[in-house]
C-alpha cells in the first residue's frame, strides 16, 4: 500500500508512494494522446461489433447490421473474375482448336489458362513441367500413346483412358505370364526381342517367333505401335514403365493398363480446350 505521497522537486510530479531502498517511483500519467487513442479504439470496437459479424451465439453468431459475409465476398470476387475473363473464355469456347492455335491473342490466353489448369489438375501425375514419371506419360516428348494432334489430345483429356466413361479410350494388354499364355522363359525371350528393337539386347529366334504370334496385332511388325489402340511404340527407346530388362519383363508378364480419369464434367469446355492447347504446346504436339 502506498504510504506517503510526496512532491518531487526536480520534475514537479507526485510520487506513487512506492519506495525500494530509497528509490521512489514517480507517478507519471500516460500521455493524453495515448489515452484518447486508447478510448478511440474501444469506441471503434463497439461500433465494429455492431456493424460486422462478431459475437458467437448459441445458435450461430451476431450477424452485424451491414450483413457482411466473407463467403459472399468471395463468391462475388469469383463472379467478377469470371466476368472479366468472359471475353476470352467465350471466344475460346466458340473457336475450333486449330483456329485458336493460329490466333496469337487467343493462343496466349489459352496457354496461360491451360498452364494454370494443368498446375491444379494434371501435375500430380504428369509433373509440373509435364515430364511425367514411370506409369504417367511424359507430355513434353514426341512419343504419344493415344496420339499427339490437338484433337487427339483433347479427346484423351475429355474422356480419359480405361475408365468408366463410355467414350473413354479403351484397350487392354493381356497378362501373358499371369494368365498362363506364355511361360516365364517365353516372356524372357520376347523381352529380349522387344529390347532388341531399340538395340538394347540381342534377339533370339524364339523371341521373334513369339512376338510375331502374340504382339504384332497391336504393336506392329516393326514394333512402332498403334495409336488407335493405345499400343506404345516399342522401338523408339522411350519407355512408360521403364526400359530396363526387368521392367519390360514385368510389363509383359503382368501387363500394365494404366488409366486416366475423364475430365469432362469436372472442367468446363473452355478449360478442356485450353488444356489441350497447353499440353500440345509443351513440346510434343503434332
Amino acid at each position: 500500500m502506498p504510504t506517503k505521497i510526496e512532491k518531487d522537486t526536480l520534475s514537479g510530479r507526485d510520487t506513487t508512494g512506492h519506495e525500494w531502498d530509497g528509490v521512489k517511483e514517480l507517478n507519471t500519467p500516460l500521455p493524453t494522446w495515448w489515452v484518447y487513442t486508447f478510448y478511440a479504439t474501444i469506441v471503434f470496437a463497439a461500433v465494429y461489433c455492431f456493424l460486422y459479424p462478431s459475437w458467437p451465439w448459441l445458435n450461430g453468431h451476431l450477424e452485424g447490421s451491414l450483413g457482411y459475409s466473407s463467403r459472399v465476398e468471395l463468391t462475388q470476387a469469383l463472379e467478377a473474375q469470371a466476368k472479366s475473363r468472359a471475353v476470352y473464355v467465350d471466344r475460346i469456347r466458340a473457336t475450333p482448336l486449330a483456329q485458336i492455335a493460329k490466333e496469337p491473342e487467343l493462343l496466349n490466353f489459352a496457354m496461360a489458362g491451360g498452364r494454370s489448369a494443368f498446375q491444379t489438375n494434371c501435375m500430380q501425375c504428369h509433373g509440373a513441367g509435364g515430364a511425367g514419371s514411370p506409369g504417367f506419360p511424359n507430355l513434353v516428348d514426341d512419343d504419344w500413346i493415344w496420339g499427339g494432334s490437338l484433337d487427339q489430345i483433347y479427346t484423351t483429356i475429355r474422356y480419359g483412358i480405361r475408365n468408366a466413361d463410355d467414350k473413354s479410350r479403351q484397350s487392354m494388354m493381356p497378362r501373358f505370364g499371369v494368365d498362363g499364355a506364355l511361360t516365364g522363359a517365353q516372356v524372357a525371350a520376347v523381352t529380349d526381342y522387344v529390347l532388341s528393337l531399340s538395340g538394347k539386347a540381342k534377339a533370339t529366334p524364339e523371341g521373334a517367333k513369339i512376338y510375331q504370334e502374340q504382339c504384332v496385332a497391336c504393336h506392329g511388325a516393326e514394333g512402332k505401335g498403334n495409336q488407335e489402340l493405345g499400343a506404345p511404340n516399342l522401338a523408339d527407346g522411350l519407355w512408360l514403365y521403364g526400359g530396363d530388362r526387368d521392367s519390360v519383363y514385368r510389363s509383359i508378364f503382368y501387363a500394365r493398363n494404366g488409366s486416366m480419369p475423364a475430365w469432362n464434367g469436372r472442367l468446363d469446355e473452355a478449360t478442356l480446350k485450353m488444356l489441350a492447347i497447353y499440353v500440345h504446346a509443351l513440346g510434343g504436339g503434332r
Partner: protein
C-alpha cells in the same frame, strides 16, 4: 503582466533548456524577419523550387494518340515512366536508382564544400517552413507581435488571426498534396475530378496524406524535424572537415562582447554588441556564437542579421560569415593578421566528385545505349531436357521480347553456340534457322521456344548458348545468354 518583447533579449533554446528541469516540452521558436543578401537568395531558391514542384505536372507533351500528353508522368497503373521523349519501363528502374545515387554523391560533395547548404536552402522542409513562416508573418505579424499575441488570453481578434493562418496553411498544404498526386496521374483531368468529388479513393488518400504531412511538418514541427527527426544532421558531420565553408561567428573579432552606446570607444572590446538579432532570426532557435551545433541548418539568416547590426554601429561586416574552421583558427591565433586560404580541392572532395563523374558516365552510357527492344530467356527446368523418339535432345525456353516502341515490330530470333541446333517456336514458323516473331506495340511478347540437337551433337551436361533478336527494319538488336542441357555421359 509585462508584455514587452525585445529582440536583444532573445535567448537560444539551449540556454532556455539548461535553465529548466530535466524534462521539458518543446519551447516554441519565434523567428524574426530579416532582410539581406542571403534572405534574397533564399527567396529566389524558394520561388524556383516551388515553381518547379507545382508547375512541372502541367507541362504538356504531345506523344500522339493512345499515350499520355503529360511531359513528366509516373504512370503506376500503366507501369511506365514518361519523361518527355523518354519512356522508362519497370525493368529500367535502375535509371531512377542511378539518379538517387547521383543525388547522394551530389549531396556529399556539396556538404564537403559548403556545409549544410542543402539543409539551409533547398531541403523541402526548409522551403515549405520558410513559406509557412512568411504566411504566418503576413497574418500574425513579426516575432515580437506574435510572442505578445500568444501571451494574451484568447480573444475574437486573436482567434480570427489564428484561424486565418491555419486556413492559409491548409490551402498551401492541399496544393502541395495535390501537386504530388499530379506526378502520378493526368493533372488537368484529375484536378477536375478532385474538385467534383469524382476522383478515386487513392487520389484523395494521397492528397490527404501529403496535405497532412505538409501542414504538420511545415506549420507545427518545423525545426523539430531537423533537430530530432532527420537522420542527415547526424551523419553529415562525416562529410564536413575544417576546410568546409560553413556559417561561423568570428569569435576572435567579436569577443569580448557587450552593449555599445554610440560614441563609446571600441578599444579593448569585441565587435559583438550583443544585440541578439542573430538569435532572434534563427529558425532553429540557436545562438551561432556558441559555435558549431547540430541544430544549425546553415540558412545564413544570422549573417544577414549581423550585417544589419554591423552597418548600424559602423563596424566592418562579416562578424558572422561563411568561413572555414581552418581559417577561423588561423585568424584566432594571429588576431586576424593572417588568413588560411580556402582549399576546395581536397581528397574527399576529389573522391566525391570522382564518384559523381564515374556514376554519371556509367548511367549516361547505359542510357545512350539502351535499346528499344529487350530479350529475356528462361529455360524450362522441369524437365531439364527431353529425349525425342528419334533420339534427339531438346530443351524448351520461355522467350520474352519487350517492344518498347509504339509500333509493331517483327523480330528474327536466332540461337548460337550449339552446332546442328534447330529452332522451333510454338505458333510461329522458322525459316533459315530463324523464327520471325511479331510483337505488338509497347508490350511484352511471350513465346515458347524449342532448341533441338541430334543425340550425337548433344552436350554432356551444360553448354552455354546465346539467343539473339534482330529487327530487320530498325536494325535493333538484343541478346540473352542461356544454357543448353544434355544428358550426362
Amino acid at each position: 503582466m509585462d508584455n514587452r518583447v525585445r529582440d536583444d533579449e532573445a535567448v537560444s533554446l539551449r540556454k532556455q533548456k539548461e535553465a529548466l528541469p530535466l524534462y521539458v516540452t518543446r519551447i516554441k521558436v519565434y523567428p524574426r524577419a530579416v532582410a539581406g543578401q542571403w534572405r534574397r537568395i533564399k527567396w529566389a531558391v524558394l520561388v524556383l523550387l516551388l515553381g518547379i514542384y507545382y508547375l512541372v505536372p502541367w507541362i504538356r507533351w504531345d506523344r500522339g494518340p493512345d499515350a499520355p500528353n503529360q511531359a513528366i508522368l509516373i504512370d503506376l497503373d500503366g507501369r511506365r515512366g514518361w519523361f518527355f521523349d523518354t519512356v522508362i519501363w519497370p525493368q529500367e528502374v535502375y535509371f531512377v536508382t542511378g539518379l538517387l545515387i547521383l543525388a547522394a554523391f551530389g549531396l556529399f560533395l556539396a556538404t564537403s564544400l559548403f556545409g549544410r547548404v542543402w539543409c539551409g536552402f533547398t531541403c523541402p522542409q526548409t522551403v515549405w517552413t520558410d513559406l509557412f513562416m512568411w504566411v504566418e508573418r503576413l497574418i500574425e505579424g513579426d516575432r515580437n507581435e506574435r510572442m505578445r499575441m500568444d501571451r494574451q488570453p484568447m480573444s475574437v481578434a486573436k482567434a480570427a488571426r489564428k484561424t486565418l493562418k491555419h486556413a492559409a496553411w491548409l490551402v498551401i498544404a492541399a496544393a502541395t498534396g495535390g501537386a504530388w498526386v499530379f506526378y502520378y496521374v493526368d493533372a488537368p483531368s484529375t484536378l477536375v475530378k478532385i474538385l467534383r468529388g469524382e476522383a478515386s479513393a487513392e487520389v484523395y488518400a494521397f492528397v490527404g496524406l501529403f496535405t497532412a504531412t505538409t501542414y504538420v511538418l511545415a506549420g507545427w514541427a518545423r525545426e523539430q524535424v531537423c533537430t530530432y527527426m532527420c537522420p542527415w544532421p547526424r551523419f553529415q558531420a562525416a562529410m564536413l572537415d575544417e576546410q568546409s565553408l560553413i556559417v561561423t561567428y568570428q569569435k576572435w573579432r567579436g569577443e569580448k562582447r557587450g552593449k555599445h552606446k554610440a560614441g563609446d570607444d571600441w578599444e579593448g572590446r569585441g565587435d559583438c554588441v550583443d544585440c541578439n538579432l542573430c538569435v532572434a532570426v534563427c529558425p532553429t532557435g540557436i545562438d551561432i556564437r556558441d559555435g558549431q551545433q547540430i541544430e544549425c541548418i546553415g540558412c545564413s539568416l544570422c549573417v544577414d542579421a549581423c550585417t544589419q547590426t554591423m552597418d548600424k554601429v559602423g563596424r566592418p561586416r562579416g562578424l558572422i560569415r561563411w568561413d572555414t574552421l581552418a581559417n577561423q583558427q588561423v585568424k584566432e591565433r594571429t588576431k586576424g593578421g593572417q588568413r588560411a586560404p580556402w582549399r576546395p580541392v581536397r581528397p574527399r572532395t576529389v573522391l566525391y566528385a570522382g564518384l559523381l563523374l564515374v556514376v554519371s558516365a556509367i548511367f549516361l552510357t547505359a542510357f545512350v545505349l539502351r535499346t528499344t527492344a529487350e530479350l529475356t530467356v528462361q529455360r524450362d527446368r522441369s524437365p531439364n531436357f527431353v529425349r525425342l523418339s528419334n533420339g534427339d535432345i531438346r530443351n524448351a525456353y520461355t522467350v520474352k521480347i519487350l517492344n518498347k516502341q509504339r509500333q509493331e515490330h517483327r523480330y528474327r530470333l536466332s540461337v548460337s553456340g550449339l552446332p546442328q541446333a534447330t529452332l522451333g517456336v510454338v505458333g510461329a514458323g522458322t525459316e533459315g534457322g530463324e523464327a520471325e516473331l511479331a510483337v505488338h506495340p509497347d508490350t511484352v511478347g511471350t513465346f515458347r521456344v524449342f532448341v533441338t540437337v541430334p543425340a550425337s551433337a548433344a552436350p554432356s551436361g551444360t553448354r552455354p548458348i546465346a539467343f539473339g533478336i534482330r529487327d530487320a527494319e530498325s536494325e535493333t538488336r538484343a541478346a540473352h545468354d542461356a544454357v543448353f542441357v544434355g544428358p550426362a555421359r
